[in-house]
């Protein structure tokens, strides 16, 4: 364990509520251990703010082990910070140096309005899922789990897509604030599996339509989403969605 505590300069977006205009504020923070996670560093800052009678900085977080998708943050201009395949909660301060200035902003998109400070509203993702990211079956109807064999390779591909945690880094890092990686991950998972076939066409059309309605941008295939995805969701899912959508839209 390191004993060399760091001193940091932080530039953090503060915004009272979704109607207010926000701005970047400067903070100094001492005694940051390299073993701290990024969010523990923010906890420490908040503890200082509270003790000095100021309002704590609001940020989303929950599981702190990289799976719930609740944490977000643009850190020095990158979604979830500089480390590959890592959520903000799993990013550790040893990725930074003593004396560094760190810029922290919320994920920005029209479809992700800011609630407060660094906390944004990502319910748009739920709406996309509600538009068709499911198999229409009621509990109790299912045949035996082994009734339909699914090749290992297919199951693995479906799992790759299903690993999405819905954090929104893809939208945040995309120049166009596009939600195609998120949408395509769910669509791919269900398009790959036999269980998803029955309503594949309706699903592709309605999920894409909902995604468009919500004000996300379009895809220009720059792959920043893939690069910043903490779960390594691949661009091939977007290609699959493009195919699925083409097939579905023209045959409906």
């Amino acid at each position: 364990m390191s004993t060399n505590m760091m001193k940091l300069k932080l530039k953090i977006w503060r915004q009272a509520d979704h109607k207010s205009k926000g701005s970047m504020q400067d903070y100094d923070l001492e005694n940051v251990s390299p073993d701290m996670s990024f969010l523990e560093m923010l906890d420490l800052l908040n503890e200082n703010l509270i003790n000095s009678g100021s309002d704590a900085i609001a940020f989303d977080h929950d599981c702190r082990e990289g799976i719930c998708g609740m944490c977000s943050l643009m850190i020095n201009g990158e979604a979830h910070g500089p480390q590959k395949l890592t959520t903000t909660c799993q990013l550790h301060m040893r990725s930074f140096k003593d004396g560094d200035t760190i810029v922290i902003e919320p994920f920005r998109a029209k479809a992700f309005p800011v609630h407060k400070d660094l906390m944004v509203d990502r319910t748009a993702f739920d709406e996309i899922i509600a538009a068709g990211g499911f198999v229409s079956m009621n509990a109790g109807n299912a045949p035996d789990g082994n009734a339909i064999p699914i090749g290992k390779a297919t199951a693995e591909l479906a799992m790759d897509a299903a690993a999405c945690i819905g954090c929104g880094a893809c939208v945040a890092s995309c120049e166009n604030a596009s939600a195609m990686l998120f949408t395509s991950a769910k669509l791919s998972q269900l398009a790959l599996l036999p269980q998803g076939q029955a309503e594949a066409k309706e699903r592709a059309i309605s999920m894409v339509k909902k995604m468009d309605e919500l004000g996300f941008g379009n895809c220009t295939n720059a792959a920043e989403c893939e690069a910043s995805c903490p779960k390594g969701i691949e661009l091939s899912n977007i290609a699959r969605m493009n195919r699925e959508f083409f097939k579905s839209a023209l045959s409906k």
């Binding site: 530039k11 977006w13 970047m24 643009m74 020095n76 201009g77 990158e78 590959k84 810029v103 902003e105 920005r108 998109a109 029209k110 479809a111 538009a131 068709g132 890092s173 120049e175 166009n176 604030a177 596009s178 195609m180 309503e199 309706e202 699903r203 059309i205 309605s206 894409v208 339509k209 995604m211 468009d212 004000g215 996300f216 941008g217 379009n218 895809c219 220009t220 295939n221 720059a222 792959a223 920043e224 989403c225 893939e226 690069a227 910043s228 661009l235 091939s236 977007i238 290609a239 699959r240 969605m241 493009n242 195919r243 959508f245 083409f246 839209a249 023209l250 409906k252």
Partner: protein
């Protein structure tokens, strides 16, 4: 799930984000096809005034066929352009508040992908000027095998004799090359083609193609300047 009249079928497809980008991709493929034939034709300039003017004459003598082809080409181009404008507008609207600091991860976006709208604008301006110069520009007559034809070769030399004009062409072609270096692979992705083995090859071939188109067109511009200096 919703299936209203406008959300399905060809209309719904064309209104959708994916429909638009796929059309963008398909028009891109067609435009690239045109560019390749255009470059091949232009290469005839190397074989001298007769060869080049004969090529031009033959093209012109297609008559109504040429007009139809031109209209189709214009339609393709305008589709690409209009879609681009609508997509850029939609994409800008998708992030009303800009980041204070935004960095490329270095693992995804490139200079080319980030500058597509700008290189596109350069190409648009270029095409307008290009048509202004060579379609509706100076007209010289030339006798070829007893027929009076347009001496486009002379027009070419006339324009490229201006080093600034040549330089602008080179710059525009570099912009086009940058545009295509992202555009080719992007078009494949948009139409849904992606493969672990072939996509990297497509990316490379796309870059090679962009390079040759750039070098070809830009080279011919410089060649035009070169022959103008030898003639004068």
């Amino acid at each position: 799930m919703a299936s209203q009249a406008c959300s399905s079928g060809i209309c719904g497809y064309l209104c959708s984000s994916i429909g638009k980008k796929q059309l963008m991709g398909v028009t891109a493929f067609l435009l690239i096809g045109f560019l390749k034939t255009h470059l091949l034709g232009n290469f005839l300039i190397i074989f001298g005034r007769d060869a080049f003017n004969e090529y031009c004459y033959r093209l012109m003598s297609l008559g109504p066929m040429l007009i139809v082809a031109e209209i189709i080409l214009l339609a393709i181009f305008l589709t690409h352009l209009v879609l681009a404008i609508s997509l850029v507008w939609q994409n800008k609207a998708a992030r009303p508040v800009k980041y204070y600091s935004k960095k490329r991860t270095g693992r995804g976006a490139t200079f080319a992908s980030d500058t597509m709208p700008y290189t596109g604008i350069i190409i648009l301006i270029f095409i307008c000027l290009h048509l202004w110069s060579f379609k509706y520009g100076s007209y010289y007559e030339y006798e070829l095998n007893g027929i009076i034809v347009r001496d486009l070769y002379q027009t070419v030399i006339e324009y490229f004799s201006n080093p600034l004009y040549t330089a602008w062409y080179v710059i525009a072609m570099i912009a086009m090359g940058i545009h295509l270096s992202h555009g080719v692979q992007s078009a494949f992705q948009s139409v849904g083609f992606r493969h672990a083995r072939y996509t990297p090859i497509i990316k490379k071939l796309g870059c090679i193609l962009s390079f040759f188109l750039t070098v070809g067109f830009a080279g011919l511009s410089i060649y035009g300047y070169y022959i103008s200096t030898t003639l004068n």
